[in-house]
Symmetry: C2
Subunit: 94 residues, 2 copies
Amino acid sequence: MLKKLNPLLHSELRLAIMSLLVSIQKADFTLIKEKTEATAGNLSVQITKLEEAGYLKVKKGFKGKMPQTTCIITKKGIDAFEQYVEDLKGYLKL
Amino acid sequence: MLKKLNPLLHSELRLAIMSLLVSIQKADFTLIKEKTEATAGNLSVQITKLEEAGYLKVKKGFKGKMPQTTCIITKKGIDAFEQYVEDLKGYLKL
DNA sequence: TAAATTTGGTTTATTTTATAAACTAGTTTA
DNA sequence: TAAACTAGTTTATAAAATAAACCAAATTTA
């Protein structure tokens, strides 16, 4: 029957972040913000949740003089994403 | 780009209800409760939301002497579900 | 046949989640 | 050097999901 959906991924913004990272492996905060059209605050909160779950790693550095936060997807994150897609297919009949 | 997901459908229980109704057109409260494994209270609330959105119609009657609440999916509901599936594909890369 | 239990729900309260607003720290530009 | 901008974080608020409590009628059981 219908599988319970991973609540961490069943969130529009977090899913968008993970979807992007599944494609390009890593992306900095600014790029993710542009692609998802999220507010900085919301994005910051959701990245932290994904990091706490071990779905991505956050590296902080500088690009020139400006701070730069880079997110890199983990194996665990990729696996969770793929499992979520499979589970969701049951709902969507795909 | 990523489309904004219909928030009414981007809910595990409401999506499960709609998924069931897309398949079988109509179902009574008890059947939906069994299939989704939701609590009665939660189910009642979510059915009301889907009804208010015009995604399903609720018919109240009796089966023998016991009350019976039947949900019937509408055209609007089917269309919304299909659009949601298409929008979601962008996130899932399907 | 009267009390207890079950069925089929609704309403209301609580918890969780998502989102926005406010703030920090530093940089660039006029 | 003051204003505006970049790149975020923290905190407060709004919205949503869920659970708990409740209700009425029907059914079972003692």
